[in-house]
């Protein structure tokens, strides 16, 4: 295929060249195990220290509050399970939302089914934002943890994290946020927002796959999730993924450095794309909040058509995108996020997520709009639901 326009940056991103370059020496030269005594190991250790500093700086944390994991999913599992274990004698109630990533939702289900937890899944409004009154109302004396994602991966809605953190703090409840989509995309300050734990994943910000971190505020004494060696100050066992950690550090530094300029451009392109699609294609609607929204996220539902078909035709035109359709995922239910904002099944099926990167151009988007028009028309012709 000659042309390729990658608009699925919420799924994963291209690892930046400078990130790969930062990683390379740690494969074949500075390959020492950081736990060892000799000099070669000291190089690995220093590289980890540097990455930890680079990352901590992005969210206003101390370096020793950053614990590397294998990704956002592990970080989410860790935060929930270990907090539950630490505090289940005090209370068994966790509050989260209906629009969390499966890494949170399925961990909650596990805790409910196997470990006696009680979980409240908060509704969101039609734009995908949690209502603070609902949160306040859901709190009980047994509530030990509030976990609300910073920004949603499907519809890009950004939650009132600061206010949620404030409420958690006032009630003396730990607050975890899944910031996998937000880290490096929007400013985050763990102190200002009263965040006790925060999950993130490198491959969403042009870092490598298979590395993430959990921020754990000093004083939050959750156990380690993976038991073994004394790595990560005895809190996360396993030989450190040195190249991955180095790559994450480089990617975080880069994301923070370019954030303002990059997201300003992306926001403009995002709004341009939204405007063109919603104006030029009938029977479609924007999902998620028009303003409190990730700078690179566009999510639109097209009535009468189904997402997977749309994606395959887009792929045929060289456009990589994703959908909240059941048919794309292996599970058959349409996106729980789209249902949570009130879309009926058949409309949730016809949703399309386009997530931009710093490489996206206006020309790309013009091409996408043209193709989209053709494809949507074609699929509607095929649809038993559409009568023109």
């Amino acid at each position: 295929m000659s042309k390729r326009i990658y608009l699925d940056n919420a799924a994963t991103t291209k690892t930046a060249t400078e990130v790969v370059e930062a990683m390379l020496p740690y494969f074949t030269e500075n390959y020492g195990n950081p736990s060892s005594v000799y000099d070669l190991a000291a190089t690995s250790k220093e590289a980890i220290t540097k990455a930890r500093e680079q990352i901590a700086a992005v969210i206003g944390a101390e370096p020793k509050e950053i614990y590397f994991t294998a990704g956002g999913t592990e970080a989410d599992n860790w935060a929930l399970e270990a907090t539950y274990e630490l505090l289940c004698k005090k209370g068994n109630h966790i509050i989260t939302t209906k629009i969390e990533h499966h890494a949170i939702l399925h961990t909650c289900e596990y805790l409910e089914k196997n470990r006696g937890a009680r979980v409240t899944y908060l509704d969101v409004d039609e734009n995908g934002i949690v209502k603070l009154e609902d949160l306040e109302k859901a709190i009980t004396p047994e509530t030990i943890l509030i976990s609300v994602m910073f920004a949603n991966n499907e519809i890009g809605s950004i939650q009132p994290i600061k206010e949620i953190g404030q409420i958690a703090k006032e009630h003396g409840i730990y607050f975890h946020t899944d910031a996998v989509q937000a880290f490096g995309q929007v400013p985050i300050d763990v102190d200002e927002y009263h965040i006790d734990m925060l999950s993130s994943s490198a491959h969403k910000i042009n870092g490598p796959k298979g590395i993430g971190f959990l921020y754990i505020r000093k004083g939050v004494k959750i156990r380690s999730f993976i038991h073994g060696g004394a790595q990560e100050r005895k809190r996360r066992a396993g030989t450190e993924n040195v190249p991955g950690i180095v790559g994450y550090g480089a990617a975080a530094e880069r994301a923070a450095r370019t954030m303002q300029e990059r997201t300003e451009v992306e926001r403009k392109l995002r709004d341009y794309l939204i405007e063109r699609i919603t104006k030029e294609i009938p029977y479609c609607r924007l999902n998620g909040d028009p303003v409190k929204r990730l700078p690179n996220n566009v999510n639109i539902s097209f009535q009468f058509i189904e997402g997977e078909s749309l994606l395959i035709f887009l792929d045929g035109a060289g456009i990589c995108a994703s959908s909240g359709s059941a048919c794309t995922s292996g599970s058959l239910d349409p996106s729980h996020v789209l249902l949570a904002i009130g879309l009926p099944h058949e409309i949730a099926h016809g949703s399309l997520r386009l997530t931009l990167s710093e490489e996206t151009t206006k020309e790309d988007l013009d091409y996408v709009v043209e193709k989209l028009k053709e494809i949507v028309a074609r699929l509607r012709d095929m649809s038993p639901l559409y009568e023109d």
Binding site: F304, I312, G316, C327, D333, H345, E346, M382, S383
Partner: protein, 147 residues
């Protein structure tokens, strides 16, 4: 993830459309994935399917199986058409990914539903054909992963 045949039938689906005053029309839906398929049959006086068209709201596999199923039943008589099972359609498409097998059931059921409609309209009974369920996946269990 799809075979070349599936991709071909998906990207260039045969027999898309409607038949006016069709001899039989069948619409089926899959409650789980929300997909819908409608099949139109034009059946002549010898009970041979002269023409067949479809409209599908569904995934790539659903579209491709609709297309292939309509191809397969065209020109067949009713009894032959009843033999066009989802397995036959899948084979003709060089297979489907496991998670997509259920989509092919949609095509089989849509044909049956259209034949049932035809039979009702003409007051005849077709051997081996029973009333279509309103939802073909009613009561179907989430497939267990075989570990």
């Amino acid at each position: 993830m799809y075979s070349d045949k599936v991709m071909d039938h998906f990207q260039n689906p045969r027999n898309v459309g409607e038949i006016e005053d069709a001899s039989g029309v069948g619409t089926v839906g899959n409650a789980k994935c929300g997909d819908i398929m409608r099949i139109y049959l034009d059946i002549d006086e010898n009970q041979v399917i002269r023409d067949c068209k479809f409209k599908t709201f569904g995934c790539g596999a659903a579209v491709a199986t609709s297309s292939m199923a309509t191809e397969l039943v065209k020109g067949k008589n009713i009894q032959e058409a009843l033999q066009v099972t989802n397995k036959a359609v899948m084979e003709a498409l060089d297979g489907l990914p496991p998670v997509k097998v259920h989509c092919s059931l949609l095509a089989e059921e849509a044909i049956h539903a259209a034949l049932w409609d035809y039979a009702e309209k003409h007051g005849i009974k077709i051997e081996g054909l029973s009333k279509p369920k309103s939802d073909i996946h009613e009561g179907e269990e989430e497939e267990e992963e075989e570990y």
